[in-house]
Amino acid sequence: MLKIAEHEFHSRLFTGTGKFSSSNIMLAAIRGSESELVTMAMKRLDLKTGSDDILSPLLQSGIKLLPNTAGARNAKEAIFVAELAREVLNTNWIKLEIHPDPKYLMPDPIETLEAARELCEKGYVVLPYIHADPVLCRRLEEVGCAAVMPLGSPIGSNQGLATEPFLKIIIEQANVPVIVDAGIGAPSQALRAMELGADAVLVNTAIASSADPIAMGQCFAQAVQIGRAAYLAGLGQVSQQAINTSPLTGFLNE
C-alpha cells in the first residue's frame, strides 16, 4: 500500500478538481476514478462568501484534500497559501506549485526548493511539483519533502511521458514516493508511468476535459492498477537485438 507521511492510500491515482463543467460531474468523476486524494487550487476558493462550487461538495464527499498553491509566483506567495490552507482546511498537506511563467506554467526550481525548506521546517507535508530533475528531487528529499512530483510533460498538454529517461533516474534514486504529475493525457501513459515504478500518478486535464469525465476516471483507475501490477510482476528485459539461435562465436566453445 502506498504510504505518504504515515497516511495510507489504496488507490495510486490522484486527481484534480479544475476544468470540470460542474461540481456534480467533478464529484462523479473523482468517485469513478476511486481516487483517495484530490488536489484543489486555494486561489479558486472564496473563503469570504463561500460562493465557489468546489469546497463544500468536496468536504461533504469526505475525500482527502490536497490544497495546492497554483498561481503563486514565488516562495513567499506559496508559503502564504500553505498557511491559509492549514488555517481553513485544517490540513498540513500542501502541493507546492510555483510557476512564475504564466504561459507554460513551468515550475520554478529555485523558489520551490526555498519554499519547501521553510514549509518542511514548519511541519508541513510538502509535495512539490517540479521538472523531472533528479538532482532537484534529491535536494527536495534532503529538506524533508514527503514525496516528489516530477512532470511527465507540460501541464495540461496531454503529451504523456516526454521526460521518461529522467523519470527513470528519479524513480531509481528516490527514497520518498514519486508521483508523476502533469502531462499524462491517456490511460496508457498512466499505465506506463506505473510500469516504470512510479508510486502514483496525478491526472486532471485528461479526465476533466474528456467528453465523458466519469468513464475516463474509471479508465484511469484500471490503467493505474494494471501498471502497478505489471511493475510488481517484473517486466521482461527489452533487448535491442534478436538472440541468435546459431551464434557466430559458438565455435569458441567447441
Partner: protein
Amino acid sequence: MSFLSYLQGLSREKLSLKLYSCTGRDVEQALQHPEGSLESLLALLSPAAESYLEQMAQTSARLTRQRFGANIGMYLPLYLSNLCANECDYCGFSMSNRIKRKTLSLDELNAEMRVVKAMDYDSILLVSGEHETKVGIDYFSSVLPSVKSQFSYVAMEVQPLKEAEYSQLARLGLDAVMIYQETYNPQTYAQHHTRGNKQHFEYRLQTPERVARVGIDKIGLGVLLGLDDWRLDALLMGHHLAYLESNFWRSRYSVSLPRLRPCTGGISPKVELTDRGLVQLICAFRLFNHQLEISLSTRESAVLRDNLFGLGVTQLSAGSSTQPGGYLAPDTQLDQFEISDERTPTEVCAAMKVRGFNPVWKDWESAWV
C-alpha cells in the same frame, strides 16, 4: 529593441499585400503549425482562411477546452468617471459631447461595489475616461485600497500612466492593466484622436512595456475593430503580443476584441467586421496562442456571446453598466457605449451551464501583491 522600433521596422504595405494574397495552400500550412508563428497568424487572419473557418473553430474549441477546461472567468467593469480631456470620434465620453460628467467619490464607489459584490463578482475592471488632472494617479491611489479590500482581482482600463505610477499602483495591489491601442495605423489613429493626450500614439504604444517592467500580473491588449482594416490591426496586435511574451515572460496576457458600435455623437465603422470575421479572429488568436485569455464584453449580442464562449473566449462580463454610478442608479445619459447583451449575470450563467460551461468568480488570492 522597443516595440515602437519593432513596429517602425515593419512595412504595413508588405504585410497587407501578403494578407490579401494568401492562398488556401498557405492556410493549410498554417493549420499544421499555428502556435507561436506570426506567418501562420497572418494566413489564419487572411480572407483565404474564411473557407477553413469550421476547421479552425473545431481546433480552437478543443485547445481552449484543454487549457481552460469548462471554466469561463467572470469579471465586471466598474466606471469610476466619465470625465475626459480627449476628443475621440468613436467614444461617448469625448470632451465635446454634452453629457453629464461624474466622478465617483469614495462613498459612491463603496455603494457601487456593494451592488457588484451582491452579484457575486470578485474580479473587477476599473474604467475611467482620460482626465489626467482630476482622475489621475492621486485619485487612483486613493480608491485602490478600498477596491482591493473587496475584490481579489483588480484590473484597470484608464489613461496610460508613467512607470513610477504603475509601480505605485502595483504596490497597492493592482493586478492587471488593459491598454488598448485602438489601431496600429498611426494615420488612422491621428484621424480619430484629435485632441488631448490620447493623441500620443507612441506613448500609448509603449505602455504595455512600462506595465510589464513593474511586474503587474496581467496586460490586456486590444484594437477597436472597424477603425482600420481589422485583419491588419489584428495581425499587428499579434506582433505586439509576441514581442511582449518574448521580452516579458513573467506577464500574463489577454486580448479584447471590441467591434466599433454606435455611441452618442459617434461614427460608423470604416471596415465592418462581420460575425463570421469575429469568429475567424477569435479562432486565429487561439491557434496562435493556446494560453491567451480572450475576453468578450456585453457589446456583443446574447446569441453571439452564447455561441462564442465555447470557441475560444475565456473571460466574460455580464450585467455591465458603462457609466459611473450605473449599478446603483442607472442613467442612460451617461453611457460610454450601448450594451447589446442586457441579460443579468444569473441569466448568462444559466445559458453557460446549459452548454456545459462553468462560471468562475474567484481565481486569485488578494494577498498576492
